[in-house]
Each structure stands twice: as structure tokens, then as C-alpha cells.
């Protein structure tokens, strides 16, 4: 997959199928198939390494037999060849070193390629999957997929080319042994089934241990992520001790799981180490017997034994591959579960009519149910919206008013198709939002949410959300949007102006500044429908007024806003009163004030409260006066008594 591929689900499932062996082979095969050139080079280098390893021992043997021993014995011709022997050995050494270099570099590149591919796929799944999916999956877990699960899934690719290259070496050795003597070959090859058996036993213990460790690793990341996000709360309540205990608990569970993994591995590693060595000893024992019967020459036994000794280390590469496989499968499967998720708000094919004026919005019997969020009531549905029917005329401004928790955010988020209604339709210029082609909605609808998300990018990048160099929005347009959102002066004061970088999540902006940035982000695209979800709660009331007044007489933008400030609500052509997910009443501010008591409670809350307080203050004054009078009377009485 080239970088920048569009987020689409993979054509065929990423998940591995079949027996463990089959899945293991698939895991390795797919990884290598993704960067074939690198892996061909890596395996070739590894095979060269195998050949060069044998060559080194052959060269040492040759130098010993034909140069060193005769030279020491007094052969002058041999003495003259000492330098030559040195050069031959040096040449073989250089070949070996080159093969090692090549194997390492290409195997390393293959390894990082596989990891990068997993991460691209995960990121593209995160971008593709709908909000409902995101809400059901903790951020920490999703980030753990991209870090520790990818590491687990790719671990096997480091030793893999080595092991495959060594395969060539083993094949050659097997043929040589078979040609020498079948019994000797049998003795040498008995190691292989033993290794497989050891591995099966190993996998049986290792897989559950690794699964648990990976899962706990995700949990530790989750706890840390949540706790660090809550840093301000933790500080202000002074609960760092409690957080420490919570983190220590999950860390300790991970520690125990890691120890379990390490222990299984600690016991398996020496066994894998042991087997080739035992194989060598077996070859010597069997070889001695075969040689004593005269079936083979002593030299053949020495060669066979030597071959196994030389192969002991490279064969360990198999051990490494086998050792990494359980972890690799677990990590891969955790990734595949995300990548193969198909739940998505599939875009349609229709386009919105290109109009100059604002969009017409119509909601027809819209209802939205979500599954209960906890596992114990998975079957239960919670109704967030029910039977909402609403008409918003093009270019008009509509305020959605209701108490906290009435479903206002849920309602307006349907207009940007962050989710689809369970019942009914959302029509934009008469077109069902579900049938719109990808990109149509964001081109004409801008949503400003309660919490502003700031990208780690410059001010300009955060406003335009365009590629660097993309000139869809000119600097003038960006400044104009910033000016309307009243953020221009803040930006002008930054040394780099529009190019000033905003830290992660805009940490260097205040809450109100972040909201104004989000407003500028919406305004710059001159949307035909602007949805403000209590987007200006942290913004100065005057600024909010100015922003909204800009749309008051503009027919080119329809505005749907969730608002609490009555001055803002009063600017709306129509007010929708929402309660418990249902529309209670629709009309102008004055109409609702007159006929809708629930609305009146919200709209006049401050006024009523001020009056109540003034009354209470007056009563208190009266009370005090009365009390004072009573006290005076009492004193007078006491004096009278005395």
C-alpha cells in the first residue's frame, strides 16, 4: 500500500485463518510479500552467510593441513605460502562480514517496513471507522495497537531472513550427510522433530501467557493515558496517591504476566540451545559405532560432527523465530480485529445542488437509539432522540434550546453525519445525508463542537486544514476568518504569525482561544450550513454576538446553533425547544416565552433568580430589622425585670 492510500477497508480480510501452523506461515508470508525485493536480498545475504560460515571453517582446515602443519614440520614451500593462506582467510572473512552486513540491513529494513505497514493500516482504519466505534473503544487501547501490538506482530521478522538463509545451509548439509551414511544422517536430523515437539509444548504455554501480557500492556497504557489526561483534576483534588495506586495495580498485573512470559521463555531457550549440541554428541556416538564397523571413515564422522557444530548458532535463529511466533500471532490478531472492522458510515453517490444560498435542512421523524454502553445490558437500547421533525429554511438561523442532557448535541451532530439516525431521515437541500458522496458534506457543512480539537500544526494549518502549499484559502481569507472569530490579534502577537506552531491539542491556547480557532476554522470555508454546538460558551459574549450578527441578514448561510445566552437565542429566526430527546415546541423566542413553560424556565432563569435574590435580600433586611427590634424589646424587658 503506498503512503497516503485512501482509507478504505482492505479487500480481503487481514485476519489469519486456519491452524496455528497455517496462521504462522501466513503471518510470515504476508509480511515478506509486502517488501519482496528487500526480503530476497536479505535471504540471499543470509544464504551467503551460511556458505561463508562453512567456507571459513573449510579455509581454516585447508590452511592448517596444507600450510601450517607442513610449514612447522619444515616444508619450505609451505613456509612461502603462509602469507597466501593469510590472504585467503582474510578474503573469506571479508565475504562473511559483507554477508552479515547485508543480512542485517535488509532484514532490518524488512522488519521496519512490516511495522510501518501495520501502522498505516491501523491509522487508516481509525480514520475510516465511525464515531460510534470510536466511542466504544478507549483511546489508550487504540494507541497500544499502534505501539506494542505492532512491535509484537513484527518481532518475528528480525530473525526470519536469517532462519530462511540457514535453511539453505541445512538442506546442503542434509544432502551431504545422506550421501555419507543414512544412520549418521538420521542421528544428525533427529534434532529436527525434537525441536518441533519442544516448540509445540512451548507454544501451548506461551500463547496464553503472551496474550495476557499484551492485553495488560494495553491496559497499563490506558490507565496512564487517562490519568495523564486527567492531570489537572488529579492535581486540584490532590489524588496523585490514588492514581499511583491504580497505576501500580495494573503495572503489577503486567509485571506478573511478563514474569510468566519470561519464565516460559527462560525454560525454553536453554532447551533450544541444548538440542543442536546434543545432536552433535549423538552424531559422534553413532559415528563412532558406524566407524568401528567400518561403514564410514573417521574423517566423515569428524566432518559431520563439525558441520553440526558450525550450524549450532545459525540454527538458533529458528529458535528465535519460533520463540517470537506466539507473541507475533497475538499482536497480529489484535491489529487485524481493528483493520477488518467493517462498521462504517458508507458514503453514497449523490451530490448536493450547488447553490449560493444557505442549505435547506429537514429532519423527518428522526430517532436515535444507542446500545447500552455496559456489557451487562448490551441488549438494551437507550433512546437519545425520538420523533424529531424539523424544517430549517435556507439562510435562516435556528437556535436549539434545552436543559443539559436534552439531546441537543446528538441532534446537531446528525447534520454533519457524525452518526446516522436509527429512524427517519436527515435531508439537506432535499437530499438524504446518507446518500451524499464522500466529501460533499464537509464541503458545505461546518460543525463547531463543544470541545475543540487542535491539530499539532500551525495556526494556518489548523484553520485551513489544507495541505501545505494548497492555496484553496488565501492568507487574506484566513486573516478574515480569524478577525471575525476575534483571534486575529492573538495570532498577530505570535512571533511566527500564521506559521506559529500550536502544541499538541493546542496546549498553548486558552479554552476560549481554542473555541475561537474552531470558529475561524468553520468560517473560512464559507459553509452553506454552520452548526454551532454551544461552540462559544468560553467566548466573550460580545464576540459571540458579533459572530452571530454576521449571519443575521446573510442568506448564504443557514445557522443551527445550540445556545444558552438569551441574547444569542434572540437573534435566531426560530427557536426549537428540546427536552428528553423530543421536540417540545418550535417558534420564535417570544412565542415560546408566551406558551411554553419549560422554555420560559430556561430563558428567564437568571431574571427570576435575580428577582428572587432581591426579594430574599429585602426579606432578610426586614427580618434583621424585626430581630433587632425584638432584641431591643427583650433587653428592655430584662432591664425592666432587674
Amino acid at each position: 500500500m503506498p503512503p497516503g492510500a485512501t482509507p478504505e477497508p482492505p479487500d480481503r480480510p487481514t485476519a489469519l485463518t486456519g491452524s496455528r501452523l497455517r496462521r504462522s506461515l501466513q503471518l510470515m508470508g504476508r509480511g515478506m510479500a509486502a517488501s519482496p525485493r528487500t526480503y530476497v536480498l536479505a535471504v540471499l545475504a543470509s544464504a551467503l552467510f551460511g556458505a561463508a560460515t562453512v567456507a571459513v571453517s573449510r579455509a581454516v582446515g585447508w590452511a592448517t593441513d596444507t600450510v601450517v602443519v607442513p610449514a612447522v614440520a619444515g616444508d619450505t614451500a609451505a613456509r612461502g605460502r603462509i602469507g597466501e593462506a593469510g590472504l585467503v582467510l582474510a578474503a573469506v572473512a571479508a565475504t562473511l562480514a559483507f554477508s552479515v552486513w547485508g543480512r542485517r540491513v535488509w532484514a532490518g529494513w524488512g522488519y521496519v517496513n512490516v511495522g510501518a505497514r501495520h501502522r498505516r493500516r491501523l491509522a487508516s482504519a481509525y480514520l475510516r471507522l465511525p464515531m460510534s466505534w470510536h466511542r466504544a473503544h478507549p483511546a489508550g487501547q487504540l494507541l497500544a495497537h499502534a505501539s506494542s501490538d505492532v512491535e509484537a506482530a513484527t518481532g518475528v521478522f528480525n530473525p526470519l531472513p536469517f532462519a530462511l538463509g540457514v535453511l539453505v545451509m541445512i538442506a546442503v548439509a542434509t544432502v551431504m550427510l545422506l550421501l555419507t551414511d543414512p544412520w549418521l544422517a538420521l542421528a544428525a536430523l533427529v534434532v529436527i522433530p525434537l525441536t518441533i515437539v519442544a516448540n509445540i509444548v512451548f507454544q501451548r504455554y506461551m500463547t496464553p501467557a503472551v496474550t495476557r501480557a499484551q492485553q495488560l500492556r494495553g491496559e497499563v497504557a490506558d490507565v496512564a493515558h487517562e490519568s495523564f489526561e486527567a492531570a489537572l483534576l488529579v492535581k486540584s483534588l490532590g489524588t496523585a496517591g490514588r492514581e499511583e495506586e491504580r497505576f501500580a495495580r495494573s503495572t503489577d498485573a503486567l509485571r506478573a504476566a511478563n514474569v510468566r512470559v519470561g519464565t516460559v521463555r527462560a525454560l525454553f531457550d536453554p532447551v533450544i540451545d541444548l538440542l543442536p549440541n546434543l545432536g552433535t554428541l549423538l552424531v559422534l556416538a553413532v559415528g563412532a559405532w558406524r566407524a568401528s564397523t567400518g561403514a564410514v571413515g573417521p574423517g566423515d564422522v569428524v566432518t559431520a560432527g563439525y558441520l553440526l557444530t558450525v550450524m549450532a548458532v545459525p540454527v538458533r535463529a529458528f529458535g528465535w523465530v519460533l520463540g517470537e511466533l506466539p507473541r507475533g500471532l497475538v499482536g497480529y490478531e489484535r491489529i487485524a480485529r481493528v483493520v477488518d472492522q467493517r462498521a462504517a458510515l458508507e458514503p453514497g453517490t449523490q451530490r448536493l445542488p450547488q447553490g449560493e444560498g444557505g442549505l435547506a435542512v429537514r429532519l423527518e421523524g428522526v430517532g436515535l437509539d444507542v446500545p447500552g454502553a455496559t456489557s451487562q445490558d448490551a441488549g438494551r437500547q437507550v433512546t437519545l432522540l425520538d420523533d424529531v421533525t424539523l424544517d430549517v429554511a435556507p439562510g435562516s438561523t435556528v437556535a436549539v434550546v434545552g436543559t443539559t442532557g436534552a439531546g441537543k448535541t446528538t441532534l446537531v451532530s446528525l447534520l454533519s453525519r457524525l452518526s446516522d439516525p436509527s429512524r427517519g431521515r436527515v435531508l439537506l437541500d432535499g437530499v438524504d445525508a446518507r446518500s451524499l458522496a464522500a466529501g460533499e458534506l464537509p464541503a458545505q457543512v461546518a460543525l463547531v463542537t463543544q470541545a475543540t480539537f487542535v491539530f499539532e500544526d500551525t495556526v494556518r494549518g489548523n484553520v485551513t486544514l489544507a495541505e501545505p502549499g494548497d492555496t484553496t484559502f488565501s492568507d487574506e481569507e484566513v486573516w478574515e476568518a480569524l478577525r471575525v472569530a476575534r483571534l486575529d490579534e492573538v495570532v498577530r502577537a505570535l512571533p511566527e504569525g500564521l506559521d506559529a506552531p500550536l502544541g499538541e491539542r493546542g496546549a498553548n491556547l486558552s479554552g476560549g482561544q481554542r473555541q475561537r480557532l474552531a470558529v475561524a476554522r468553520a468560517l473560512v470555508r464559507r459553509p452553506r450550513l454552520l452548526v454551532l454546538d454551544d461552540a462559544t460558551s468560553a467566548v466573550d459574549p460580545r464576540v459571540e454576538q458579533e459572530i452571530l450578527r454576521g449571519f443575521e441578514h446573510s442568506a448564504s448561510t443557514t445557522v443551527v446553533m445550540v445556545a444558552y445566552r438569551m441574547s444569542s437565542v434572540a437573534l435566531a429566526d426560530t427557536v426549537v425547544h428540546l427536552a428528553g430527546g423530543r421536540v417540545v415546541d418550535v417558534g420564535t423566542h417570544e412565542e415560546l416565552l408566551a406558551r411554553d413553560p419549560g422554555y420560559r424556565d430556561i430563558a428567564t432563569a437568571y431574571e427570576v433568580e435575580t428577582r428572587r435574590r432581591e426579594r430574599a435580600a429585602a426579606d432578610a433586611l426586614d427580618d434583621e430589622a424585626a430581630r433587632e427590634a425584638a432584641e431591643q424589646d427583650a433587653e428592655a424587658d430584662e432591664e425592666a425585670v432587674s
Binding site: 485512501t6 612447522v72 572473512a93 491509522a123 514474569v259 519470561g262 559415528g287 573417521p298 437568571y606 433568580e609
Partner: protein, 603 residues
């Protein structure tokens, strides 16, 4: 304070210093190291004994004069197998011991670093990405853990094997031993030079991987914005660029590692060539027999094997050290808002707050408070009002000691906050920030988080806790709202509380702060996203409850100011007006104008 402490991307300690400091923080790692080493010596000896036994078997058994001696071979093979099994057992034991001790030590390190992040000043915390902080206590520690599990034992055994092989070589020929060691001098130099680069490369890898994870986190945390603006493709490209960046840095590190490692291979085999040449000359000169030269050649291979293995492990060690440095960098970051050595416990009771000549500037920024003097009486309701950017939130943060003033002092009951122990300060003063952060859990669990005695009550499941939480919502007039939630107090709030609206999160946050029973409650726009009717209800409830408690409210909505005992008007970093709502409203100044415009907005 012109510059707040930043969390360095990595500690500047050298390799040995890093290991020393690491062990200091995680002392468990070296617990029982004596036994572990003793076992490792046995394991290493086993590794040397076996090839020697093989060589012996070949020489004395198979190539014995008068034909192969099967009986002798069987005996020697049996002995070697025994040694092999014993060495394997020792290896297993060493592995288990190392894993247990290291994991215990690393768990300590994780918790220590985690706690330190929370102890850091708020300003320091915000200099580093949250995602990157998480990786310090997760993947960076994992790197160390992986190294110890795979590399630690090998490094130990290889080093011992090198010693044993050197001793054996010296027995045969000290001259050739010198030749071998001389060959490894250039390798040592290459490694010294190379490792600095390898080190830098791995530090870079970790940084790039950190940035990459931060980029991926934008797709997760910013999911809503990405969808609303249809910028999935752009975000994807940014992530892909970060992934490519990380991949590039990894590739470069791999190449460096390959170069240093293959130079180890090269030199090992060149040493073999040198021994052949020098050995042959020595033999010709009569200093050695041919048999000694041959035997020596065999020993050289026993020596070079572990040297190459050690080179390899040293590279991985660099990776682990890079991870270790990043974790240590967190622990080393100075805590700027910390307990003084002689910090006092501030006794519970009505809280009186004073500011004396308080000035404040954010790191690298202009001064935002220019000498504020204030006296806020105990048990009073104070409203701090002002335009955006006037400095009113800064006042709130200083009173809660989220940061210290650049000049002047903040006094709680006459004691400088810097002299009060943080534990007792946090118990008395609670700040409710605008963004009511909720943990992934139920409404009940989140509100109960405020209870000081939550642990002693047995956690949020305890019926007494439920009763108190329900009581708090009732007092705050929020029972109706709770009942309207799908599952009442047991309604899950989702991660970061996102299953609730911003206003609902604030309601839970208020209940949580209420349950913490502070003497001084600082509300920083804590009800900004709540509807007016609910806000008024909460304000009224808080009014009746704050008897005996001091409340400082930072608010845009002046309904709060109307209800307060004292209004503080902040403008451009100065307190410009101070008095009761009635006085200030009549005075015709800044406040009167603000209030008039507020009234106009709400009617």
C-alpha cells in the same frame, strides 16, 4: 519564573551512569545478583566445556590410533551431555532470576515515573505531549524489559565465556593471545565510535516513534473533528509522513547497527587469519608445536563467538539505554511546585485568602498579573469577573497553587502557600476547571472520586458511598437529571466522559468537588456549558451549602456575581474594582458596564 521546567527528551547521562541511576531507582534488579552471577559462570563454563569435549572426543576417540574407540566415545559423549544438561539448567535458572528481578525493578520504575508526572507542575506537564508521556511509562520501559529478557543473560554468559576462553588461550600461547587481543583493539575503537552514533540513532528513533504515535493519536482523539471537516485524507497523509519519518530513522539505526556488528564479524575472522600467519611463523621459529597452533585455532573460535554475540547485545543495550534515558528524564525533571522542606500542615476550618503584590508571567510570555493585592474574607462568596485574557483564571490557578507567583505571595489563613504542605493544601482548596474531565466509568464512580475517604469506605461499590453520592446530587438539585440518564447513577460516561455532553460533565464535576468537602472551592467557569435553569439551581444549592466555606468563582455569567458577597473586577492584570454587586453596579465603572451588557444578553 520566566522559563518553566521542561521534560527533556532523554536524560544526558552516559551509558554507565544511566545503568547506575536505573539500578538506583530499581534496586530489585541487582537483588541476589551474586547467585545469579555464580549460576551464569556455570552456564558459561558449560558452553566452553562442550566444544572442548567434542574436540576431545574426536581426537581421542574417533581419530584414536588403532581406529575409532566406540566405548571411549560413548563415555565422553555421556559426560559432555551431562555437562550440557547441567549448563542448560543453570541458564534457565539465571534467566528466571533475571526476569523476575528485572520485572520487579521495572515495575518500580514505571510507577515512580508515573507518579513523578503527576507531581510535576501543571506548566511543566503541558510542555510535553500526553501521548509521549504515556510512552515513557509504557513502550520505553518495555524496551528495557525486552532487552533484559533476551539480551541480559547472553551478555552475562558471553562476557564470562570471553574470560574463560582468554584464560584457556593464554595457557597455550601468551603470544598468540596477545595477537588475538591486539586484533580486537580496533574493534573496540570502532565500537566506541560507532556506539555513540548508534546511541544517537536510537534516541532519534524513540523520538520519531513518539511523534508518530502522537500523529496517530490525532486520528483517535480528534476523530470527531476529522469527520466533521472531512479531513481524513489529510490526517492520513500526515500520519503516513510521520510513519515514514519513524521508518527512515529506524532504517538508519539498523544500518549503523549492521555496520558495527559486521565489523565485529570481520575482525573476529581477521584474528583467525592473523593467528594462522603469526602461529605458523612462531611454529617455524620453534616457539610452538603444530598441535599447539591447531588447538589454538580452535580456541580462537571459542573466543570470537561470544565477542560477536556481545557486540550484538551491546547494540541492543544502546536501545535499552535510550529507553531508560527517556524514562529517567521524566524522573529527573525538577518539580517546581513542590513541598518546602519545612512545609506546615494547614489546619482545616474557614479559609481566608490574601494576595500580596502578586505578579505572574507564563513561561516566555509577558506579565499577565501586575501586582495584585486582595483580601478574601473567610466564608465569603467571591466572584472574579473580567474580560477574556484579563488574568482572572490566572488568579484562580495561583490560589489553588497550580503555579507559584513570579513575585509577591498568596496567603492562606496568613501562611504563604509555598510553606503549606501540598497534601493539606489540596485537602482544603479544590479547583474545578472548566473542562470537567471524567474517567471512563459510571456517574457514581466519577462523583465518588471526590470523596476523601473513598478507600476506607471500600470503594465506589459500597452502599454508603452510593448514598452519599446520591445525597450530593440531591442537595445540588440534580436528582431529576440523574434519573433521566439511562441507568441513573450507574450510567457509564464513556472515555473522558464523552458519552455525556460538556454541560453534563460539568454537573458531575461539581458533585465530585462538592463531595471533596474543601474549605475553599475555586470554580473556574465550572458551569459554563450548563443551561441557565440548571446553573441557577446549582448556584443556589452551592450558596446554601457554602456556609462555613469560602468560594471563589470565575465566571462570564454575571448571575454568579449578583449572588456573591464580594466582586473582584480584573482588567488587564490589575484589580480595578472591588466591592459588593450593589455597590459596583451603582458605581458606574467597568463592572456596571459589564453587568448592563450581561442583563441585555439574558433578557
Amino acid at each position: 519564573m520566566s522559563e518553566s521546567a521542561r521534560i527533556a527528551s532523554a536524560s544526558s547521562l552516559g551509558v554507565m551512569a544511566t545503568l547506575r541511576r536505573g539500578v538506583q531507582i530499581s534496586p530489585q534488579i541487582v537483588q541476589g545478583i551474586g547467585w545469579t552471577l555464580a549460576l551464569a559462570v556455570l552456564a558459561a563454563a558449560g558452553r566452553v566445556v562442550v566444544p572442548l569435549a567434542v574436540q576431545g572426543t574426536v581426537d581421542d576417540g574417533i581419530l584414536a590410533e588403532g581406529g575409532p574407540d566406540a566405548g571411549r566415545v560413548a563415555t565422553m559423549v555421556g559426560l559432555a551431555a551431562g555437562a550440557l544438561v547441567l549448563a542448560g539448567l543453570c541458564s534457565a535458572l539465571v534467566n528466571v532470576r533475571l526476569v523476575q528481578r528485572t520485572e520487579a525493578g521495572l515495575a518500580t520504575l514505571r510507577v515512580r515515573a508515573f507518579r513523578h508526572v503527576h507531581d510535576l507542575a501543571t506548566l511543566t506537564q503541558s510542555t510535553e505531549r500526553r501521548g509521549a508521556l504515556v510512552s515513557r511509562v509504557t513502550t520505553d520501559v518495555d524496551t528495557i524489559s525486552l532487552f533484559v529478557q533476551w539480551g541480559g543473560i547472553m551478555l552475562l554468559v558471553s562476557s564470562l565465556q570471553i574470560l574463560v576462553a582468554t584464560a584457556l588461550m593464554a595457557v597455550y600461547s601468551w603470544q598468540l593471545t596477545l595477537v588475538v587481543w591486539a586484533c580486537f583493539v580496533p574493534l573496540y575503537l570502532v565500537l566506541r565510535f560507532g556506539q555513540r552514533h548508534v546511541n544517537a540513532a536510537f534516541t532519534r528513533v524513540r523520538e520519531r516513534v513518539g511523534s508518530m504515535l502522537a500523529a496517530i493519536s490525532e486520528a483517535v482523539v480528534g476523530a470527531e473533528t476529522v469527520r466533521a471537516y472531512g479531513v481524513g485524507a489529510r490526517t492520513g497523509r500526515r500520519i503516513d509522513a510521520a510513519i515514514e519519518d519513524a521508518r527512515g530513522s529506524q532504517g538508519r539505526a539498523m544500518r549503523l547497527v549492521a555496520t558495527t556488528f559486521s565489523s565485529g564479524t570481520l575482525i573476529s575472522n581477521l584474528a583467525l587469519a592473523a593467528v594462522v600467519v603469526v602461529g605458523a611463523h612462531l611454529g617455524v621459529g620453534g616457539a610452538l608445536t603444530a598441535g599447539q597452533v591447531v588447538a589454538f585455532l580452535f580456541l580462537v573460535q571459542l573466543f570470537t563467538g561470544p565477542v560477536q554475540m556481545a557486540t550484538e547485545i551491546l547494540n541492543e543495550l544502546q536501545n535499552a539505554v535510550a529507553g531508560w534515558r527517556r524514562v529517567l528524564a521524566v524522573v529527573e525533571t525538577p518539580v517546581e511546585v513542590a513541598d518546602a522542606e519545612d512545609a506546615v500542615t494547614s489546619p482545616r476550618g474557614p479559609a481566608q485568602v490574601s494576595l500580596r503584590g502578586v505578579r505572574f508571567a507564563y513561561p516566555g510570555g509577558p506579565e499577565v498579573l501586575h501586582g495584585v493585592d486582595l483580601d478574601l474574607p473567610a466564608q465569603s462568596k467571591v466572584a472574579v469577573v473580567g474580560q477574556t485574557g484579563s488574568g482572572k483564571t490566572t488568579v484562580a490557578k495561583l490560589v489553588a497553587r497550580l503555579m507559584d507567583p513570579t513575585a509577591g505571595e498568596v496567603l492562606l489563613d496568613g501562611t504563604d502557600l509555598r510553606a503549606v504542605s501540598l497534601a493539606s493544601l489540596r485537602e482544603r482548596v479544590v479547583l474545578v476547571p472548566q473542562e470537567g474531565f471524567l474517567f471512563d466509568g459510571t456517574v457514581l464512580q466519577n462523583a465518588a472520586y471526590g470523596l476523601r475517604d473513598l478507600e476506607s469506605l471500600g470503594g465506589a461499590q459500597d452502599p454508603r458511598v452510593r448514598e452519599r453520592v446520591a445525597g450530593a446530587f440531591e442537595v445540588l438539585g440534580l436528582t431529576d437529571w440523574v434519573d433521566d440518564l439511562g441507568q441513573g447513577l450507574d450510567t457509564p460516561v464513556g472515555q473522558r466522559g464523552e458519552a455525556l455532553s460538556a454541560g453534563e460533565r460539568q454537573l458531575v464535576a461539581i458533585a465530585r468537588a462538592y463531595l471533596a468537602e474543601p474549605d475553599l472551592l475555586v470554580l473556574d467557569e465550572a458551569t459554563s456549558a450548563v443551561d441557565p435553569a440548571t446553573e441557577v439551581r446549582i448556584a443556589r444549592a452551592l450558596d446554601s451549602l457554602t456556609t462555613g466555606r469560602t468560594t471563589i468563582t470565575i465566571a462570564h455569567r454575571l448571575s454568579t456575581a449578583e449572588a456573591s458577597d464580594l466582586v473582584v473586577v480584573v482588567d488587564a492584570g490589575h484589580v480595578v474594582e472591588l466591592g459588593s454587586h450593589e455597590e459596583l453596579a451603582r458605581a458606574g465603572g467597568v463592572y456596571a458596564r459589564m453587568h448592563a451588557s450581561w442583563v441585555a444578553q439574558t433578557r
